[in-house]
Structure formats: structure tokens, C-alpha cells
Amino acid sequence: MPSSNLVGNRERQFVVVIGFSLTLYLTDITWEVRANSRHFHKHRRRRSFLCFRWGRYADNVVRSFKYSPLTFLPLTLYEQFQRAANLYFLLMVVMQCVPAISSIPWYTTTIPLVIVLSVRGLKDLANDLVRSLTHPPITRLSPSLSSLTNWRGFTNVNSLFFLSIPTPFSLCLPFYLSPSFLLLFAPHPTPSLPLSLPLSGIVLCEEPNSRLYTFRGELHWRGERHPLDSEHILLRGTVLRNTDTAFGMAIYTGSDSKILRNVGQLRVKRTQIEKVLNKVVIGVMLFLLLMALLLAVGSGVFQGRVSSQIEVLSALTRGNSPIYTAFLTYWSYVILLSPAMPMSLYITFEMIHVLHSLFIGWDVEMRGGVERSIPAQARNTSLNEELGQVGHLLSDKTGTLTQNRLLFRQCCIAGNVYGKDELPSLCPTSASPQTLDLSWNPFSCGGLYLSDQRLVDKLRGQQCTQSRQFLTTLALCHTVMTEWRNGEGAPVYQAASPDEEALVGAARELGWVFLSRTRDSLTVSELGVKRHYQLLTLLDFTSQRRRMSVLGKTDGGLKLYCKGADIVILERLQKDCPHLESTERALDLFAQSCLRTLCIAERTVSEAKWEEWSKTMAQAAMTTRNHDDMLEQLHDDMERDLKLLGVTAIEDRLQDGVPETISLLRQAGLKVWVLTGDKKETAVNIGYACRLLDPDTRLLEGDELRQLLQSPDPEITFSKGKGTELWCVDRERAGEKSALVLTGPELVNIHYRSKDLENLLIQEPEWGARFMSLAGLCQSVLCCRVTPGQKADVVTLVRKNTASITMAIGDGANDVNMIKTAHIGVGLAGVEGGQAVQNADYALAKFSFLQRLLLVHGRWSYRRIAVFLRYFLYKTCSFALVHIWFGFFNGFSAQSLYENWFIILYTVFYTAMPVECLGIFEQDVSAECSLSWPELYKVGQRQELFNTWLLAATLLHALYTSLVLFFMPLGVFYNSALDYQTMAVTVSIASLFSATIEIILLTRHWTKWSVAAMCVSFGLFFKSPVDYYFPGVSQNAFPSPVVWFTALLTAWTAVLPSFTIRTLNIILTNPDRHRHGPVELQKSGFRRGDSHRRSSYAMSQGRGIGRLITSGASRRITFPPVDRRGTLGDNVTLAGQTQSDDAPKNITENGSSK
């Protein structure tokens, strides 16, 4: 059913009550919402005019645009003048309008300022138009139901709701954007609410805020107060399942809703380059102000000592005291030197950023999805250069590294291995695995990735009981629920973990079709024969138990069906279990192929035993003391003497190109960390599969890690400890070959009961630093069982303790924290809603595009922007600082050495285009070479192209150039007949020459545009008259050879140092060696894992939903069409049970087994 229909259907039944009022009730619970009093509080709706707002409640329209024709100008100006730089330049303009201090006329700053403001304003306007034309991104939050459309649900595009009546059952399952179940309960009074409308009531709650997971409020209804918390509210974009009708009340609407408050705030991120740049800009500013001060003092002294002797000059300054003159001169010099920090720097910087972002979007090799329809997207356009500096990549696992698609790949039954032994990485697109003929099975609907005719023959031939038992176990031992849709021949399975779905699905394909479940029964069609199993008890999966069992009863008696991690199951087997050895061999085999394994076992239980056990169970439920221990004991008692049936092997499908990408990134010097909510085994398994860990990597975990951290200097202990081991040759290698595995909760239990390890690391800086220094030695860190919040904390930890740039990549809502915290957040588009993408700086379709994003685009961006900024500072400073030296020869009078228009045009036209081309087109090596020489990326990580020292060197070079630019012509023009204007032109030409030679030396990638830009810039200078204010100068100065000889010599002398250093660099390091073309990488063959490595238990996430299922209280259960009649009564009783609105959390195992 298309989701739009869903919306339509449901909204008719859904009563949305919008009405607002405000009373001050509590200090923080001040937000009042009244049901059905729309007219009464209408006037409190928020309205706005221009940038003024009044009123309290936002209406329910989410505007994604902010400008209107009327508000554009004031708003954009207001926004732009919040930037310090723009204000500074505005100040300059104002100062230049004061005639007494105006050393250069007002338009030299005004024109660029107007250009800058209008360019940026137009850019904002264009962005705004695009945003308002396309769908507002928020509406895209409506979840993707594609995989789970059988769930009854509706999309709530309205806002945040307080769900008042879910009916007919008290329990609904709102489906958040990640596949985890959240239960939603209506507050107590509501189930008995009459459906007669309108309702009346008041909700008092918190002011609108961005905290998604907390809510505090009260419902006042019929004179009673009912507390409300986050369990009672639905967020915008939530899908409600398992109910047809619900009554609710809008609490926050429109821009007040929590999601919008949360989403809209993209933190302003500043790149490391920007920070350095800002520091340097401030430094240069201070330098300029200081120079202006010194020159002003000079001018005061000059007036007092020198110009008083010269009648001509003293007449000009008559009446002004030297101090007053100095004061005026100070401001004149501030103006005159201001072109050293041109505003075009910032605007050009921004434009280049935008273009780089566009390049990322345009790159066809980063398009993903069907037909390559999803381009990569740079949502934040100002972080590009940081992509070239990433030192730590923190990745989510599920959905990012893996496809979150589990495939039943192989199995071993009674010692026989079925299914081809394929390496997962070798066949990434096994799209048509269905070579088996399953047409005999009416329920088959494809999706079996195990193809082995022998198994089918065995199953159908009724020969092998063990294989039949194996499949029976698969079909029974799970918490999957079914839904039957009209017209479909097979049930659709809904599973809490994808592992179970894969297993049950595989069983279905092979003929053991799980049809339906009720609270205490399971219906399975075994090769067409329908059988009912009475579900006696379900011992659910927990992370401690690492197994689950189902006790079922058929005609043949009671049987316990069990599946679990190999370690757990193997130690519970009966003695002399057959096929043990061959099964263990199979386990090793599967582990080598990086498959996730589960052991399948069964046990025949006698009726008497069951009677006794269930009695004990009932007693245990009554006791409160040692409740958990007793339960554990009981479970243990039941799950023993198992008979091993076989092993399943599930492939946790890696995304395409993940191993290649990770190994490439590792070569590029990135530390790849994996942060996952999964268990350690799963994470480690994936770590091996995606080449994050090498087969011989030593894992540091648990006690060992803790001891290392406890030692005062982990690095030393680390290397010492390593030295004793044989395989460790030297310390360097030891570091490369180990990885830290951080499993927070485990460590907590061992030593730090109060705090888990990550909190410890984060809260105590000493520990964090130790951990990071240790992590710096290791090749990777795996953090397992971490919450979304902890993910962000780990990012913070890295950010705090290292200087390196962190990048977080994830695909789901649980990665949002991490993505927001990291320097750069990357969201994978497509699979899991849009939350990650909404909060990310970059959106990619696939993890493997990361290599292009980082190694190609990032590296280029970093180089381009670093070179661009350095050159820009060089050319403007060298150009403007000349005035300082000239001051010594014109009586510190703030006389300009350039023609007025030249000052404007120099930065805007004469030297801008070549450097813009450099910022856009420069490639030191081609994309292919970048990928085949990943170590080139380390330049960015080490900040080799843009750091304070390099900038200081650049500025020194600029200072030197300005000295040369002035003193070389000074020597020529001193005591000569050449006039001031000729000298101005000479210095202009010289500075233009030196800037151009410098950019020629810098440009290493000459496209036609670069050449054209160079020619046009030069042409502009010589074609357009130089003499706007100097009429006739071009005709008289250009033919003069002295001007040219001087300019050439000056320019060459100015660039000589940088040319020499460049040559030295070429001689010593041969930086162009990578340009000769990509080299075929030595493909280090993917070695298989060592046999000692066991694969992990294939169950994801924490506690299962077994209780919920067996409680039966909550489920709207659908049945196969034929069975509907027979189970109707059951359904009714279920409905009756819901009257007790007890939260299923409180339902005990005991209760469920009754």
C-alpha cells in the first residue's frame, strides 16, 4: 500500500486538535495546549513581519525559505554585517569618506564591498529559492516503509503529537526511523474515553525544545492530573503501527516541533584552515595597525622636525599641531594599508568552496543508487578542504559498512557442509543466487542465497531426520512475527533482528514455512504439511545468555529447540554428540569466510521434567530475592544435554567496495574506528571482513586493555608487553598490528562499577589522553555496544586529545549525534530515512565513495585552498605593504604609491583570475594517481600545506617582496627625472609581474582556462588604461625602457627566494614523481582469517522481544487466510487482555508462560 494512501486513510480517523493558550503554571512547564479551542486562542498564533516576530505559537506550516521580496534586502544586510570582516570594511568605507584622512578615495573599498555583499546576498537568495522550490527537507522525514509495508501505520506529517487514544489496543508501536521497537502507551484514563467528540482537556508541558528523547508535561482532564513523559508523545514523522485509529493532540506545531528544532540547527563548523587563517588575519591586522601607529608617530615627528623647515609644507599643515597630524595620519595609514587584507579574499574563498562542493555533486563516479541516480552531496559547502586532512574516520557499522542485509549463506547439518564456499568479497553482486528449483514450494518467494541441491534432495527425500529437525528448529526458535497480506501467498516476516529474518526466510524457502504465531502456539507448514506446535515457553535471547530456546509441544512430545553462539551451545551438548568434530571444522571454515554462525541444537524433554520445571519457574517468579540468578539457573537447567543439529552461516553483507576502501584509507594514514551498537564478536567479525583488522592483528581488549590504561605510561608498557611476544619484531610493527576493542559495559562490570569505560575516558582527561596515546599506536579501535550518545563522546574524546580532523560516517538516526560532533559528518543516503543525511555535512550513496571524497576531492580541495589562500595573502600583502616603505620617503604623509583604480582592480581583475583558476582546477596529480598513491593524502593530515609557520613564511616573503617592490624602483628613481606617476606605474607593473610569476610557479596544472585567465588578466592591465587618474602616463611610461627594466628586475628579485626554495625542493624531494601516472597497486591478497578466530553469534542488538510476543498482550496478529476462522476466538481474548493496561515491561517470564 503506498504510504500516501495510508496518510489519507488515517487522517480521517485521526482527530487533530489544534488550539493553544498560555498560562503560567509552573516555572518550566509553561506551554499550554487546550483541546478543541481553536477559535479561542487563534490570536496567539505567531506572526511575523520582516524580521520581527510576535505571538507564541507557530502555525503548522513549515517554511523552508526565509526571504520575501520585501525582507530580502534588510535581512541579507543584517546577516552579512554580522560578519566581522564586513563590518570592518564598512568602517573603512566610512573612514574613507572623511576628507581629512582619506588617503585613497572612498570607492576603492566601496566597490568591492558592494560586490561582495551582492554576490553573497545573491548566493543566499539562490539557495533560498532552491530550497523553497524543492520540497522542504523536513517532509522527506516521512519514513520509508518500503521494507515493512505490512505494518499498519500512518505517516504523521503534522507535528509532534501527544497520542491520546490508541484503540482498540492500548499498545501501539510507533516506528521510529531506526528499526528498533519503541512502545507507546496512552496514559491511564484514556482507554475508556468515549469516542464522542469533542474532547476537552489541557496539556501543560515544556516549552518547545530540541531534546528528542525527553518530555515533561501534565494532562488535565476531567479534573485529574496525569503525568506525561516521552513515552506518550509521537514525534513528527513517526509511523504508528498496529492500530488503525488514534486520537491525539498537537502539542508543538510547525517550527516548534522537536524534530524541526533539532534538525534545523546545523552547527557552524569551522575548518582548521579557517581557524589558522583567522589567526593570521588578526595577526596581520595587528601588524598593520602597529605599522600605522609607527608611521603616524613618524608623521608627527616629520611635521615637527622637517616640514616646519620647508615653507611649502609648513604652509600646508599650518594650524595643525604635530599630534593632530599624527592622529589623522594614523587613520589615513589604516585605510591605505587595508588592501593587505582584501575582502575579496573571503568572497573568493567562499566561491571556491561552493564550486568544490559542486564538483563533488557532479562527480559521476560518486553517484550511487539505482541508475546512479543519487549524487554525492555537499550539504555544508565550507568544509571541503578539511576532507583532505581527515585523520580519524569513525564509522558506524550497520548500514554503513554492511548493507544490514543478512544472507543465509551456508549451513552444516550433521557434519555435512551445504552451500558453496564463496568469499563474500569476491561476489559482491550475486544477484541471481536462485539456481535451486524451488517451484515445489508454494510459499517460496525468492531470496535464498544458499544453493545446494543435495540439501533439498535430502529434505524432500525424507531421509535425514537431522536435517529436518534442523529446519524445524529454524522455523520455530525465533521471535519473528508474520503478517498476511491480501493476495499474497506467503507471510511477510517481521523480525527484531535481521538475523532471524534471514534464518526464518531460509527455512521458508526450503519448505519449513512459519505461518503464524499466537501467544502460545506456532503454526508451521513442513513441506506442505501444516503442523501446530504448542509454545510452552520461550527463553529469550540476552547478551549474557547468547542463546535462545523454544520449548514446543507436538504430538511427538516436548522438544526444546535451541540456537545460540557456538561457545555457549558447544558446552551444553550431551556427551558423545555425533558430528561434533566435523561441525567444529565447519565452524572454522565459516569463520574464515567471515560468516556469522549459529549453532542449532535440540533436546527432547520429558513431560515430567517440564511439569517440574514449570512449577519451579512459577515459584521463582514469586520470589524477589535473587530473582535473576534463579532464573538463570532454571534456564541453564533446561538448556543442557543438547543434541547438536548443525550450524548456520550467515553473511553480514558488506557494502560494495568497503574492504578496498578501508584498506586504501588505512594506507592513506587514516585511523578507521568502528563504533557500533553491536556486540563485540559481530564488530570484530566485520572488522576482519572489511580489512580493518588484518588476520594476524592482536586484539587488545578487556583486562589487557585496562591494565595498559592503568599503567602510568601506556605507550611504554604497550611496547614492553609486546616485546615478549615472538611475532612482534619491533615496536613499530607491534603498533600497526594491534587493535583496541572497547566494549564499554564489560569493562564496567569488571572494575568500574559506577562508570563505564567510555565515561571514564571522557570524564577524566588523563585517562582519555592515555587511551588516545595508546590508540595512536594501534591500527584501529573498535567500540562495541555503544549508545548514540557514547558515539558522540568517543568523537569528542578524539577531538580533545588529538589535533587530527575527525570524520564520522553513519546512516541512521543513531549516528546523528556522532555526525554532528565530528569535524565532518557524512551521512549515507538512501537506506535508513534521512536523519543522518539531514545532519550531515556530506551525503554519499555508498561507503566506498569515501575514497574518492577524501583521497581525490578532499586532497585536491585542501591543496587548492591552501595554495590559494597563501598566494592570496602573499599578493595582497606584498602589494599593500609597499606603502609602509614609501612612507619613509614622503614624509609619512600616507601618500599612495598606486593609482587609485589600480588598488581596486589589482585584487579584483589583474591578479584574481589566475588564482581563482588555481583554486578551481589545480591538480597536483590526477584522480587516478591520488587513488593509487594514497600516502599522498598524509600531506593534509600533517597540515603541510597550510600551517602557521608556512603562513608566517609566506608573510615574510610578502614583506620581502614589498621591500623589493619599493626599494628597487627607489634606487632607480632616486635623483632621476622620472616623476611620481611613472614610479607608481613601474611599481604597479613590478607587483603585477611578481604576483604573476609567483602564480605561474604555483600552477602545476595548466588548463585552457588557466592560460586564458593569465592572458586576460595581463591584457586587462595593459589594455584598459592604467591611467584613470594619471592621464598620459601609459603613453609616456610604457615606451620607456627604464620602466620595463626596473619592473622586470624588481619582479624577478621579488620571486627569487621562492623560486630558489622551490628548486631546492625539486632537487631534494622530487615532488613530481607521482605525476608520471598511476601505478598498479600491489594487491595484497586477502588472506583468510586464522583458524583460531571464531565467528560471532548471529544475533544483533540487545534483548529480544520474546516477552512481548509471548505475553500476547500487544500484538495485532494476523493469520493465514484459511486459519482466520479458527483463531478468531483467540484474538478476542487477546483484546480482552489489553484492558489491563499494564506495561509489557512488567510482564514476567512467568506470566508469559501461563
Binding site: 562527480d363 604623509s893 587516478e928 598620459g1032 627594466f1045 624577478w1052
Partner: protein, 373 residues
């Protein structure tokens, strides 16, 4: 330079690059897959090696050094300081007695001899030092529209709202508007220099000094114009007063040539073209070469420079000079530029040598290591 033309469109599909190539198939599908958008514009990527860069140092050094020598060798210059600071110098008396307000002319003659004959056209300059003609306030103190013949800037007495520029302050007007106004004009250099050749037989021959053609053509014809309307400058400048320091009004600057009066007087124009630096020289006149070309323009021998000493420089410790110079194709003799060229050229050459030795010492090992790896 060893250029390598890297047309990237051709080698775009490297097999070893990435696992998910296929830009080729996309080229047809996506209309926006241009070389620009894919950053695959054909480009020239020079591969720089020691072999391509090092010769630049030697080449540039070898070009610069000869240029320097040429610049030094060509041209002759003679400089006579006639300020009269020393008691012994002939102009001492004049310099002591003179100030702006003096109306009495003071003349002095300076003897000098030429060791070498000056061929071709000889340019005669006057030079001033410590005179801050590039001071911002001084430079601003002129009215270009007035000098360009704008009548309105000659005629008003009262500052109207739109016309009162502060350009000429404080030499805008006394009681009548000043023409030409401003500090630059007011401080016009007004020494008169005359040159006599003393024949071996003792008789003095005046050397003809041509005052025409010393200003830029564009200045004389575009930038500076007399107010139009009347050929009689006296009438045109009626109602204006001469600058404070001037002895005679602007329309009587050149008594000999009536076309050289008013704002287009060439001496005036030259003066108005302000100098770049506090020590400067300005073209005073040209001594044209003899038509028969047999004798040099200024043969070697004794000369007398007759100075009508009007311009006071003593107060600011300035110097006044007379300079004679010949001009070659690259302008006047410029020893500094020549020396600078030789210096920079030699530095370049030496740097080349140093880098070459570094290259042989360290570079080779480095490169071979790279290649073998």
C-alpha cells in the same frame, strides 16, 4: 622543461584505480558529464626536475649581467651642485641672502669643465633634494580642472556649494582667485640657468637652450590647457591673482615665446608633474646637437653656468643642482639599475652553482632511491 601533455580524457579509465569505475558508461547517459564537471579538462602538467629548473638560474644570470653592464656604460652625466653651502662656492652669497619675499635678483656663475665631449642631444636638468614634492598634502594641493582650462574655477570668488573644492588649500585665493592655485604651483622652481662655453681663447659662447619639448606631449596638449575664448591671455586671466610666491603672473612666464605662457608653459608643466621622491631632478631644457654633426654638442672644455638665484632651499637643507646628461635608447644613464642588474644576475648565477652542487651531492641519491623504490 619537460612537458607532459596529459590529456586526461584519454586515460581516464585506469584499471587499477577504483573498483567501481564506469565513468565511460556514464558519459553517454548523463548529459552533465562534461570534462569540466568531471575535472578532466585536458591540461598541461609540466614535470619539473632539477634538469629543467636549474638552467633557469644560469640563463637569467647570463642575461642580466650584460644588461647591467650596458646600463652602466652607456650615457654620460655631469652634476653641478650650485646651492652655495660652502663659503667658497660662488653662490654662497646668493644663498645666504635669499628668501621668497626678495625681489632683488641675485646671480652667480659656476665654472666647470667637461672631460668628455657630450654627443648628440644633451639634456639639462635642475635637481632638488630634501624637497618633499611627494608629500600627500602637497600633491593634493592643485586644481586639475583649473589647469585644464575650466573657466569656472578661475572666476568665482565665493565658494559655492558644488564648486568649492579644497583642492588648492591653502593657496586657493587671496583676495582674488589664484591662478594657478595650490601649493605645487606656488612653489614653482624659478631659478634661471644659462650655459656658456669658454673657448680656449677666452671668449664666452652662449649655448642655445631649447625650452620646447621638455614636457610630456599629453600634458601639454591634454592635461594642461589655457582657458579658451580669447587668445589674449591677459584678458583670460583677468580677475585672478598670481600665486603668492611668484614674481610674475602666469601669462608672462615666458617672455620670449608667447605660445609658452599660461598653464601650458612647459617649465610650469614639468614642475607640476610631481616627483616620486624627495630628491629628484626635472628637465630644464634640451641642448640640441649641432646640425653639421661634426663637433659634439658639448665639446670638452671649460664652461660657465650662470644662475639667477631665486629659489631658496637653505631652510630645509636642500640642494640645488644642474645636471647634464646624454640619453641613449634606454633613457638616461642609470648606474643604479646597471649595478642592480649585475648584482641580481650574479646572485642568480651563484645560486645556480650552489643548487647544482647540492643536486650532485644529494639530489642524485634521492632520485635514484625514488626510482628504485
Amino acid at each position: 622543461m619537460a612537458p607532459s601533455y596529459n590529456a586526461k580524457e584519454e586515460d581516464g579509465h585506469q584499471p587499477g584505480a577504483t573498483g567501481h569505475g564506469g565513468a565511460g558508461t556514464m558519459t553517454n547517459k548523463k548529459p552533465d558529464n562534461t570534462a569540466f564537471k568531471q575535472q578532466r579538462l585536458p591540461a598541461w602538467q609540466p614535470i619539473l626536475t632539477a634538469g629543467t629548473v636549474l638552467p633557469a638560474f644560469f640563463v637569467i644570470g647570463l642575461i642580466f649581467i650584460p644588461i647591467g653592464f650596458i646600463l652602466i656604460v652607456y650615457g654620460l652625466t655631469l652634476l653641478i651642485d650650485y646651492t652655495g653651502v660652502d663659503m667658497s662656492s660662488p653662490c654662497y652669497n646668493c644663498s645666504q641672502s635669499y628668501s621668497w619675499n626678495n625681489t632683488q635678483s641675485c646671480t652667480c656663475s659656476v665654472h666647470f669643465s667637461l672631460d668628455q665631449p657630450f654627443e648628440s642631444n644633451v639634456f639639462m636638468y635642475y635637481g632638488l633634494s630634501n624637497f618633499y614634492q611627494n608629500h600627500r598634502r602637497y600633491v593634493k594641493s592643485r586644481d586639475d580642472s583649473q589647469l585644464n582650462g575650466d573657466k569656472t574655477s578661475l572666476q568665482y570668488h565665493i565658494c559655492t556649494l558644488n564648486r568649492c573644492s579644497k583642492e588648492c588649500e591653502p593657496y586657493r585665493s587671496s583676495d582674488k582667485p589664484i591662478a594657478p592655485c595650490g601649493a605645487i604651483a606656488n612653489s614653482l622652481f624659478n631659478d634661471t640657468l644659462e650655459l656658456y662655453y669658454i673657448d680656449p681663447n677666452g671668449s664666452r659662447t652662449a649655448i642655445p637652450l631649447v625650452k620646447k619639448g621638455i614636457a610630456w606631449w599629453t600634458d601639454k596638449h591634454v592635461k594642461f590647457r589655457n582657458p579658451s575664448g580669447n587668445n589674449n591671455l591677459t584678458v583670460v586671466f583677468q580677475g585672478t591673482s598670481k600665486p603668492v610666491n611668484w614674481r610674475k603672473p602666469v601669462f608672462e612666464l615666458d617672455p620670449l615665446d608667447s605660445d609658452n605662457n599660461g598653464f601650458i608653459n612647459e617649465d610650469f608643466i614639468v614642475w607640476m608633474r610631481t616627483a616620486a621622491l624627495p630628491t629628484f631632478r626635472k628637465l630644464y631644457c634640451i641642448i640640441q646637437k649641432k646640425p653639421n654633426n661634426m663637433t659634439p654638442t658639448l665639446p670638452r672644455g671649460e664652461y660657465i653656468l650662470e644662475v639667477t638665484y631665486n629659489y631658496p632651499v637653505r631652510s630645509f637643507d636642500g640642494r640645488k643642482r644642474m645636471i647634464l646628461s646624454t640619453i641613449s635608447w634606454m633613457g638616461g644613464k642609470n648606474p643604479f639599475l646597471g649595478i642592480a642588474y649585475i648584482t641580481v644576475g650574479s646572485v642568480c648565477f651563484c645560486l645556480g652553482l650552489v643548487l647544482l652542487s647540492i643536486h650532485y651531492r644529494y639530489g642524485k641519491r634521492n632520485n635514484s632511491a625514488e626510482i628504485s623504490s
